[in-house]
């Protein structure tokens, strides 16, 4: 059986919006929970970087919400986390549940790519497999040969092809240090915050013309999917290019986080919201 770690954290107002748990906060809590699981069962994140010269970067993440968990629902949130390696050590994946009362949960699945660090102060690295000594600390049930495949390209293609386009917008941004992690590289949950900012700007600009967009301010996001191609770094300029669609009874936003270069977006974020007419959610 894969090993799970469970613990509780007290709620504070900064984890929430009026609509429920903040998605970026869940990702920050989830990444910390994964570090906690690794430290308990495999090796601490610090030792992994400092002694084994192995870093990890999040490549793909999915976040799904059951019924919203609000600030006034409970004094504590229950955290549950497990980890596994996939693809012959080319991926580390964590699964995190953040639970409120009545078994309402946010579920995060994040897939990381290990990097072999060069050993320089910038923590530069190149993708590599986890070392055999680190792999040996995982149980057989925590090792899966099949690699994770991101659902984002397929989801994006389906929404663009079959959905009804509603509106588009662009919001420029600059990465500051408070958005970065230890290597002056953006901390990946910032992608969610930036995408949400792009969506809110788009809704404010277009809601009078397309009233259905207001569902994305009135109701909490139900599902987020993220795919990372390249990080942003300190003082990098970028833009959130957001497109809104109605697709299969949902309101879907596709956010491309682009840098100054002309090739593929550095990150893709999709957000899905319920529409008032929707009865059930898969």
């Amino acid at each position: 059986m894969p090993r799970w770690s469970s613990y509780e954290i007290p709620v504070d107002t900064g984890l929430f919006t009026p609509l429920g748990l903040q998605p970026a906060a869940v990702c920050r809590l989830g990444f910390n929970a994964a570090g906690r699981w690794l430290a308990r069962h495999v090796i601490s994140h610090r030792r992994l970087v400092a002694e084994y010269r192995t870093g990890v970067v999040v490549w793909s993440a999915q976040l799904a919400f059951d019924e919203p968990v609000g600030f006034f629902d409970a004094d504590w949130l229950e955290m549950r986390v497990t980890g596994r390696v996939r693809g012959a050590g080319t991926q580390f994946e964590c699964e995190v549940e953040v639970g409120g009362p009545l078994d309402t949960r946010a579920r995060l699945q994040a897939c990381c790519v290990p990097l072999r660090l060069e050993g320089d102060p910038a923590l530069s690295g190149i993708p590599a497999r986890l070392g055999s000594d680190v792999m040996a600390a995982f149980l057989p049930d925590e090792i899966e040969a099949r690699p994770h495949r991101s659902p984002v390209p397929g989801l994006r293609a389906a929404v663009v092809r079959h959905g009804a386009a509603l509106a588009r917008g662009r919001m420029p941004f600059l990465i500051h240090r408070h958005q970065c992690e230890v290597a002056d590289q953006w901390f990946w949950p910032e992608a969610i915050s930036l995408a949400a900012g792009g969506r809110e700007e788009l809704v404010q600009a277009e809601a009078e013309r397309v009233p259905v967009l207001l569902s994305a301010l009135r109701t909490p996001v139900r599902r987020l999917d993220l795919l990372f191609n390249r990080p942003f770094f300190l003082f990098d300029e970028g833009a959130v290019c957001s497109s809104a669609y109605e697709w299969e009874g949902r309101l879907v936003f596709i956010h491309e986080l682009v840098g100054s270069e002309k090739d593929q977006p550095r990150a893709l974020v999709t957000e899905q919201f319920s529409l008032p007419t929707e009865r059930a959610w898969d």
């Binding site: 102060p121 910038a122 290597a183 590289q185 390249r230 990098d236």
Partner: protein, 88 residues
Amino acid sequence: MIVHVNGALLRFTDYRRVISVDAPTVGAALTRLADEYRPLHPVLFDRRGRLRATHRIFLNGELLAPDQLASPAADTDSVELLLAISGG
């Protein structure tokens, strides 16, 4: 030539983003830059003095292969230093 420093490398050049370097080639410019900003040296070069594979060097917007670092460059040419990814 004019060297543009970005992102995670900025703290090694005391946050100077645009630095003028007098050198005949791109490779020589990087060496001179690392001599001037010593904290940058171990970031750019390994113990054998080779440019680390984690960096991307652009000359006037064109990505240079490692064997193109000996390319001559003029005072007005622009060199951009990018760190591809970090493992924090």
